[in-house]
């Protein structure tokens, strides 16, 4: 989802160098997604591969957190959202790389290397925007405020997550939340941005209850594939 939103910047970035940078992150993320979805299809064992899962599921069947399906907004919104995700993805991948599932660990190890670069890029930009001009500061702060209530969902675990964690396959989301809060607090502060204090958090994406944005995004993303069911590309 996030890769898709990032790819919407192609040809429209604020400077050529950044166009290339965002496309790189987009490619890494879609690459990771392809591997994870492929594994999911195999584990499900109903004959669905990564394309079937990406292009032929309805919105309510998707399990991503709501934060990643939100429209790209301005550059500040994209960067802050990316930063929030990168801190999470970095720590999640680090843990999953030690998963007792060999396949999962392999995918996560690759994701971890990539997440380090992504995090460096997004955290540097958060600082430049927060501590740049008045305008960039205002936009960055607005992005932080608008995104805050979506950040809790990343760390909510249900019984499936608990079982996976106990089995050594999944990650300890509570531990990740703590690291996330510390790092985010530190970077935002250094960027002269204030950390929101409200504790209300939206959720539902993991249960298939998404924002209205996802439907529109999927309409666009899936249209060609669905217009020619069974075709090869």
């Amino acid at each position: 989802m996030l890769g898709h939103r990032l790819s919407e910047w192609c040809g429209h970035g604020p400077i050529l160098e950044e166009d290339i940078a965002l496309a790189n992150v987009s490619l890494d993320l879609i690459g990771q997604a392809t591997l994870y979805l492929h594994l999911a299809g195999e584990v499900e064992a109903k004959g669905r591969n990564e394309d079937a899962l990406a292009y032929f599921r309805e919105a309510v069947e998707f399990r991503n957190v709501q934060m990643v399906e939100l429209p790209k907004g301005d550059f500040a919104f994209t960067i802050v959202r990316q930063f929030f995700f990168d801190v999470y993805n970095y720590h999640l991948s680090e843990q999953l790389a030690k998963s007792s599932s060999v396949e999962l660990a392999g995918i996560a190890a690759k994701g971890y290397k990539e997440a380090r670069y992504h995090l460096r890029h997004s955290s540097e930009w958060v600082q430049r925007l927060g501590d740049g001009t008045e305008e960039s500061h205002a936009r960055a702060q607005k992005a932080v405020n608008d995104l805050w209530r979506f950040t809790g969902e990343m760390f909510m675990s249900d019984e499936v997550d608990q079982r996976l964690k106990t089995g050594g396959i999944g990650a300890d989301l509570d531990a990740i939340r703590q690291k996330w809060s510390a790092i985010v607090g530190d970077v935002l502060t250094r960027a002269t941005l204030s950390v929101p204090t409200d504790t209300f958090m939206l959720a539902g994406g993991r249960q298939g209850r998404h924002t209205e944005y996802l439907g529109h995004m999927l309409s666009e993303m899936q249209i060609v594939a669905r217009s020619h069911p069974g075709a090869e590309w």
Partner: protein
């Protein structure tokens, strides 16, 4: 051509320059060069760079609708490559003493040209295959010879670019081949795309030699290596068998093979359409430029922020060191 007041030392410099060119030497940024050589290079190189950047838009249009994850990634990578190519060439152009901001300004105000082909709309997924096949194909025919251009930075940028461009063309043709042997709808989709892109692609190689006054001088200076008609002929010779191989027809009823010359002859090109598009009246000229202007405008605050941050932290460093 303006009359310059030449004096013996300038004549000597010119003669030495022409001799270096004739000897196949490479001209580097700090070497003496006639002003006209420099201005022609700036024009050619910046036009090339602008084309790469504007070229991201027609293909970028289909990223969000790419029908498989693999194709989605390929397309993003291709568009990203084009950004990179634009960047290599802008930086190469800057070695001639002009700032990128000025070049970008020329593009956005409509003063600079870019390849006419990018003023056509992409209307179906099949366009992604056909563009790779035809447009990158034509670009390769043009660029392979430029890899030996006389100006060092341009030639070096071209070598980097050619490696990546070949890959794009292959990917495009692979998409075309897959569609051509797919469902009847897919086959119709790709044939339609071929019908729309063929003529603009062969026009992309430039006006016919009779209408290209700059060509002779540029060839002497090894900034252009072949004439437009020569490049066009090469492109058509390469492409016709490729179309035959996937059972697609090219929309030229007069296309026929000449046994004597060993080349394919083509029908009448509608140069009126070409000039209309070059002058700004193609289907997408305004949209393309507007998109670039919007990106530039909306990016202004971002660029300013990065600069402000850099300044603040530089000052902090120097005052810490003091």
């Amino acid at each position: 051509m303006n009359q310059q007041t030449t004096d013996p030392s300038e004549e000597a410099l010119n003669a030495a320059f022409e001799a270096r060119i004739a000897a196949g030497e490479t001209i580097e940024p700090k070497d003496w060069m006639p002003d006209r050589y420099r201005t022609q290079l700036i024009r050619m190189m910046s036009q090339h760079a602008h084309s790469e950047i504007v070229g991201m838009l027609p293909e970028g249009n289909w990223i969000t609708r790419a029908p498989s994850l693999k194709r989605k990634m390929s397309l993003i990578a291709k568009v990203q490559d084009e950004a990179g190519h634009g960047l290599y060439i802008y930086c190469g152009t800057e070695t001639l003493g002009v700032d990128r901001a000025e070049l970008v300004d020329q593009l956005l105000t409509g003063k600079a040209k870019y390849s006419s082909i990018f003023n056509y709309p992409t209307l179906s997924w099949a366009d992604m295959g056909v563009i790779g096949w035809f447009v990158d194909g034509a670009a390769i025919v043009n660029q392979t010879v430029l890899a030996k251009a006389s100006y060092g930075p341009y030639a070096r940028a071209m070598i980097r670019i050619c490696k990546e461009e070949n890959f794009h063309k292959k990917q495009g043709y692979e998409i075309v081949a897959t569609l051509a042997r797919g469902t009847p709808e897919q086959k119709a989709m790709v044939q339609d795309a071929v019908n729309r892109w063929w003529w603009p692609s062969i026009m992309m190689l430039g006006p016919s030699d009779a209408n290209s006054p700059n060509t002779a001088e540029l060839i002497r200076w090894r900034v252009k290596r072949k004439t437009n008609d020569e490049l066009r002929e090469r492109f058509i010779d390469l492409t016709v068998p490729q179309a035959q191989a996937v059972d697609l027809t090219l929309p030229d009823p007069d296309l026929k093979y000449n046994e004597t010359t060993g080349h394919w002859e083509h029908g009448q090109i509608d140069w009126d359409e070409f000039w209309a598009v070059v002058k700004g009246n193609g289907p997408c000229n305004r949209e393309r430029l507007q998109a670039r202007r919007d990106a530039h405008e909306e990016g202004r605050w971002v660029r300013e922020a990065a600069e402000a941050y850099a300044e603040k932290h530089q000052r902090a460093e120097t005052s810490n060191a003091a």
